[in-house]
Amino acid sequence: MINVVFFAALREQLGCAQLSLAADDVKTVDDIKRLLCEKNEQWQQTFANTSLLSAVNHDMVDGDHLVKPGDEVAFFPPVTGG
């Protein structure tokens, strides 16, 4: 299984903070995104936002980053701390 987490505006738009995915069908971060977009129109629209960032196991990564069972994959908007 892969643990998927969402933060900030993205979490609110999706109405979801965390979900688990079977790792069978996904090789990359982009695969996870595609799978999530299949849930419904709202998820698809929300993930159409090209400025969203992704991280695997707490490191910022690009969409072609490989994922494996046990990974924590995060999606979130550009950061605004400081």
Binding site: V5, F7, A8, A9, E12, S51, A55, H58, D59, M60, A74, F76, P77, P78, V79, T80, G81, G82
Partner: protein
Amino acid sequence: MKKHNNLAEISIQTDDFSLADEVALLEQDNLTDGAVVTFTGRVRNHNNGNAVTALTLEHYPGMTEKSLANIIKQAKERWHIGRVKVIHRIGELSIGDQIVFVGVTSKHRQDAFAANEFIMDYLKVSAPFWKKEKITNAGKISENWLAAKDSDNDKAKRWS
């Protein structure tokens, strides 16, 4: 310099912090570093023309610490600096409240200035924090997630 194992370089906390206490820790048993540069960021009462009344800060536990540790590591590789402390608050904050503190000591001031600004510039674009503002616009109160600024990306790029 005496080792100071009890001084964690990174703190993500809901509580406020004391600038004086933090600087005292940076200077304690540290007589080799003559320069101390601090940055403190506070909640302003205005942003993009709107009156801000409060701020909520969300973060990604675990990744935030890892990200900040990586930024500090890079700063230490680029400049001759002594001690570093980064504090970032999370949760509900009010106008005037302290949000973030970066303190850097060094033998020569130029290193402390550069490393401090470098840490802030990278924190702004790569540490997973998000601000939600409560604003009053024409008498109406609303809550908005802040949009990231291109200028912050430009500032971070200066260093590469």
